[in-house]
Amino acid sequence: MNLRINGKSTTLPHPQTLEAYLASRNLDPAVVVIELNESIVPKDKWAQTLLAEGDSLEIVSFVGGG
């Protein structure tokens, strides 16, 4: 399954939920915000949101800045 994650083409071996993908990457759900196809996905929807072929995913967090 091919999708874009943070602007990069990525292949995932099998369909998975957002929650499962974050866990597989060791990304702390408390820290990140997710936009799927340019819509923000609330945290309480991550467990039932299934990633699909062609999806565009943005995963962001806060960093130092002025």
Partner: protein
């Protein structure tokens, strides 16, 4: 005496705002916040590297601070709005520093796009603090669009060049009802103090502290300078004279 700075319904403990960028280590941040007394701290929103994981800067920011995410990286109003919505979805409040920049050499903000982003985000309930090029008319448009404060630059971002825009900012302070916060370019505590003596509501510094040899001590110095400048403003500085006016009596001289 009551001298409170209230923005977005929040009474702030200090008139110094701090940026969180460019420190040699984020672990310095708690000590800098404590030493400076800053009550508002900025952060940026960036993509996470899914391969490398991420450090959570929020673990270094005291919970007593108001978090003010910026929209740095936005080149137009639409991008700023997108970043602001992502920032709010993190669940750390609704303050946003709008920063729309398409000039890569001087990093000067685009006032027109900033006005538009202010309008959209204020309507969505954000507490909007636009970073802008000092211009009274643009600031008035931002006020009409729902800004909670106006943040003109003192000099280009990260330059430590000081309060170069003072004539324009002075007019903005005089003419605007909203708090005017000098953001960017301030390099020395004396310059922050000058902003405050002039009547600025607050000063935002980042590079000046982050690039100091001792950022904690510099943070403390900025906190003191901002407080001193505010006290001087409230005290009402005396008039400037063209020629000397003796401070000692002009009578009873020994040679008389």
């Amino acid at each position: 005496m009551s001298d409170k700075l209230i923005i977005g319904g929040v009474t702030l403990p200090s008139r110094l705002f701090l940026g969180s960028g460019k420190y040699s280590s984020n672990t310095l941040i708690p000590a800098i916040v404590e030493a400076s007394g800053a009550g508002v701290i900025t952060v940026a929103v960036r993509r996470v590297d899914p391969e490398a994981g991420q450090e959570n800067i929020l673990t270094h920011i005291p919970k007593t601070c108001i978090l003010m995410p910026n929209t740095s990286g936005a080149r137009n109003a639409a991008e700023a709005v997108r970043i602001a919505r992502l920032a709010r979805a993190a669940g750390c409040g609704d303050w946003i520093k709008i920063e729309v920049i398409s000039d890569n050499r001087y990093l000067l903000p685009d006032n027109q796009e900033t006005i538009e982003a202010t309008r959209i985000l204020a309507a969505e309930g954000f507490t909007v603090l636009p970073y802008m090029s000092p211009d009274l008319m643009a600031a008035k448009r931002m006020a009409e669009a729902g800004a909670a404060a106006i943040m003109p630059l003192g000099a280009p971002i990260g330059t430590n060049r000081g309060f170069r825009t003072k004539e324009l900012v002075r007019i903005m302070i005089e003419e605007l009802e909203l708090p005017v916060i000098v953001d960017a370019g301030i390099g020395r505590p004396s310059e922050a103090c000058e902003c405050m003596e002039m009547g600025a509501a607050a000063v935002l510094v980042n590079t000046a502290v982050a690039s100091a040899s001792d950022p904690v001590a510099m943070g403390r110095a900025f906190g003191q300078a901002v407080a001193a400048g505010r006290a001087a403003f409230l005290a009402g500085p005396g008039a400037v004279q063209e020629s000397a006016k003796a401070s000692s009596p002009l009578t009873g001289f020994l040679h008389e």
